[in-house]
Symmetry: C2
Subunit: 552 residues, 2 copies
């Protein structure tokens, strides 16, 4: 069985028709959900591209892998999905975005070069690369945001788009009435059509790459097809740009009470520029329809891909995973972007189709188990029939759920956020190590712990599913807070770095040193069978103890 | 300035005359103490050889480096003192024991071979090796405990000791009246002289190697001279074997109350074979004098080394550190060996001589700051005048204390113990991840947290310096326990894996993406200076939005 691991970027869990969106039809996401399981309580381990993806790809919490924000390199030697899957005989390929930043210093220290297979895999987060494109070819006076080469820009140039950066000037910009670039970076342009042939835009292009890969891939393969959309810039080519409009824009899920006695960290985020933009209805009325259009385009392209899998017979022997690296506030909670832990940000869609007979009973069902994105790495290893190395992988296989079982399961999910590189850190005047947030959610209560001496935040999603009422403003819920802090403490003491010795190896080693002569408890040797001390017995030979010089 | 980092194995903090031992004279340890600072509250991060040393050598807590017990490999890529010092231009050499176990799987995964300089350093915990000998050439029916080559055994053979394993039959055994080997593994033989010329025994041999190294070393060098003694087998050559006797053996520091309502983990350790042996006065009466003899020999050899440093001028330009990887219960608390967190086990001697003028004011003084062994790595980097990379090294430089300052300092020390590979784990019926202990000590209260659902242990060293009365047996000290658990939780949430990005790098990166065109908050672009969006402006060129095919 192959594994097709599809990730979208910044796709909210509730912007799918199978998730209940009132007007956005996503028939192809639904198509996979109808044949698989849709997980309704799936949480990423950090609501930001880089750190979230590093957790997906290592199967480890952010505090365990340390690549805590965008651009923080993943340390050399950290094991990835690719390493785990290759051990089982499955190749692991990348088509698209990882947001991986190579640990150049570590590579140099270990003498690894990117032009060796091993070095390349280290540099590419364990993937073999079919195409690597992180999808954000932003460019300013200091140059490109992404210093890698851009296969997508090269493609556009080969298609005749004459510009230095056609991603910026065509795929992510429209044309205004004066014939000038109307960049998708500006929300006022979100409702304009991107100045590009639809089939040349990013999502179709990456889908073409995915199909090309699949057609030549040697089974068993894992392909990580990793789209940039619907991540900003919020602009999409015709016909998607006006498929939706203000009538499709839901009222923002936000309440004045959220800004009263607001938690200081939430407060500075609510004051940032993107929050200010999304607090405007005119911005939401343009951006959200574009966002929806991008998702609809994703859905159409998913349909192409699924059709191809059907036609080629791959649907029979390929597990399909659809997910996202985090969500998008879109103005909910007075915020834009992601970063914090409300549902629109930290919860993600997760749909898994397992083609095998064992998964028959759960087709089309919904599962509300508390899932962490790091469960996917464990699931893939388990799907290969290999033991999940739980001294390295911190998630748990989802196969039991897919196969209709009810396994012993976790009682809470964890997510983390490091905002030390942001303007919010500067505003709060904090040193980097203090700029860290932890979420613990037990299915009902969601607590955010903030380092730096702040009080926590607490929501009761049973009585307040909109997460408006921060119950940590007073002391009415101190009992719950204490309980959750106890669980968070337990999590903090977890074994996460004992990556070179499995539980099984430890158990097998017990007592081993006795038979290798390590016997530091003998009074006269009669305490153990003679064979254990035989090397320590027998004729002494020369006696050196009679004189200092060894003479007899 | 060079750094001579001398470590003894299993040397108790109180078995030195400068530490107040009533009968054991250690004039050379005292000699260094008289010229330096003796730290009276120095604690190792795990009271067991392997894990303690991995913490010393990485400058990181056990939970951070993961090599939690003897034989658990240190993961490939983990930075070591050697890496940090080489960055500053100082070489870092090993003479003796490290207890390092190579991460063979990780080396293979990264294509590193032990015959390359990089691979060798990875395999040897970051050291360049003058001589590597872990000092425990135990041998049983299943072969040698240590699969490396034994330079010491090779030396003995070259000196005419005819045996397959002269370490076992000569250096660590005597001769009985029948001319048979009287092994030092048996405590009944502890008072016999080892069957070896004193100058050929382990401590003089290693001292010879150290002198040889120093005489040819290129400054600036760091030499880790790492002795196996006074670690068992408890046997020493003449004249040391009868230098001390039962009159020198202090009463065991133990009390019946320690065994009442005993903490389950402490209880199973008190029932193990070595504890049983050390609960016998006849064992203590033989072993402790041998232990003292081994230490006296260490002191005499230290004297040789110091004399050589004086004669060669190296005393003027070499920092000297004397310490141990953990202690030895010797029957205190009804225990033998180490493993647990009472003072005789987890506290170690630490004497530092800094030859520079800045250290003049503290010569011969004593410092009671709460020190962790991981402070040494930070101290060495600081001594090189380099910034201590505190996103990797978790200890703090001791230089301020050596130079007479009173720096902001820690409020508690942490130590950890993983007993998953031991018989105690089997007795308690626990899975490996539950076999973990944590100590937190604030200078007065010492708490041990035990995973696996056990209650903690608590001692008040101000009112109960002997650590007899476990205040966690009842609830009289719940307040202190809660307070310490709060601190332990904080420690559990520390940043330990963000090893690829320093605080300084994070601060320097803030705002950087704006000038690289990442502007996800613009409504119309007027929010930022024009130059930031200039690439996104200008003539659009071909307009593809007019028709699906791109025709005008």
């Amino acid at each position: 069985m192959n594994i097709l691991f599809i990730m979208y970027d910044q796709l909210r869990f509730d912007y799918l028709s199978c998730a209940g969106h009132p007007t956005l039809e996503t028939p192809n996401f639904d198509r996979v959900a109808a044949r698989g399981v849709r997980f309704t309580n799936a949480y990423v381990q950090s609501p930001i591209c880089g750190a979230s993806r590093m957790s997906f790809y290592t199967g480890r919490y952010v505090s365990s892998h340390g690549a805590a924000w965008n651009g923080f390199p993943l340390r050399v030697g950290e094991m990835t999905m690719g390493d785990h899957l290759r051990k089982t005989g499955m190749e692991c390929w990348l088509i698209g975005k990882t947001h991986m930043r190579v640990d150049a210093e570590g590579m140099e220290r270990l003498g690894l070069t990117p032009d060796s297979v091993i070095g390349a895999r280290q540099a590419e987060c364990g993937f073999d690369v079919w195409v690597r494109d992180d999808g954000l070819w932003a460019q300013g006076p200091d140059g490109f945001y992404d210093s890698n080469r851009s296969p997508y820009n090269e493609f556009l140039k080969s298609k005749g788009y004459e510009a230095e950066n056609p991603w910026a000037t065509n795929a992510n910009a429209s044309v205004d009435e004066d014939g000038d670039i109307a960049s998708g970076w500006m929300f006022e342009n979100a409702d304009k059509p991107a100045n590009i042939r639809e089939e040349d835009s990013e999502t179709p292009w990456l889908t073409d790459q995915a199909i090309e890969f699949i057609d030549q891939a040697r089974a068993p393969w894992c392909a990580h097809v990793s789209y940039i959309k619907p991540h900003w810039p919020y602009i999409v080519p015709a016909p998607y740009h006006d498929m939706f409009g203000p009538a499709d824009v839901p009222a923002a899920v936000r309440h004045d009470v959220e800004r009263e006695d607001v938690h200081p960290v939430l407060g500075v985020f609510q004051e940032n520029k993107i929050a200010a933009a999304f607090q405007r209805e005119d911005v939401r009325d343009k951006v959200i329809p574009a966002y929806m259009g991008l998702i609809r385009q994703c859905d159409d392209q998913l349909g192409r891909l699924l059709d191809h899998l059907e036609a080629s017979g791959r649907m029979e022997d390929t597990m399909i995973v659809l997910t996202s690296d985090h969500g998008d506030y879109l103005g909910d909670h007075w915020l834009g972007e992601k970063d914090l832990f409300h549902e629109p940000s930290v919860k993600v869609p997760l749909i898994i189709y397992d083609p095998r007979p064992e998964a028959e009973a759960t087709r089309g069902s919904v599962c509300d188990a508390l899932v962490e994105s790091i469960d996917l790495a464990a699931t893939f290893v388990d799907a290969r029939g290999a033991d999940v190395p739980d001294h390295i992988l911190e998630g748990r296989s989802l196969l039991p759920w897919l196969h209709g079982e009810t396994p012993a399961w976790r009682d809470y999910v964890i997510s983390e956020y490091d905002y030390s590189a942001s303007g919010q850190a500067v505003k709060l005047g904090l040193e980097p190590k203090a700029c860290r947030l932890f979420m613990i959610f037990d299915g009902r209560y969601k607590m955010m712990h903030a380092e730096g001496g702040f009080r926590p935040m607490l929501f009761d999603l049973e009585t307040d599913p909109d997460e408006f009422h921060d119950l940590a403003k007073g002391d009415s819920h101190q009992h719950e807070i204490d309980r959750l802090y106890g669980l968070l403490a337990q999590w903090g003491w977890r074994v996460s770095q004992r990556v070179t010795r499995s539980d099984a190896e430890i158990k097998a080693s017990r007592g081993g040193s006795l038979c290798k002569g390590v016997l530091p408890f003998l009074v006269d040797g009669s305490e153990v069978p003679e064979e254990l001390t035989s090397i320590y017995r027998g004729p002494a030979g020369v006696d050196y103890t009679k004189g200092r010089s060894g003479d007899d």
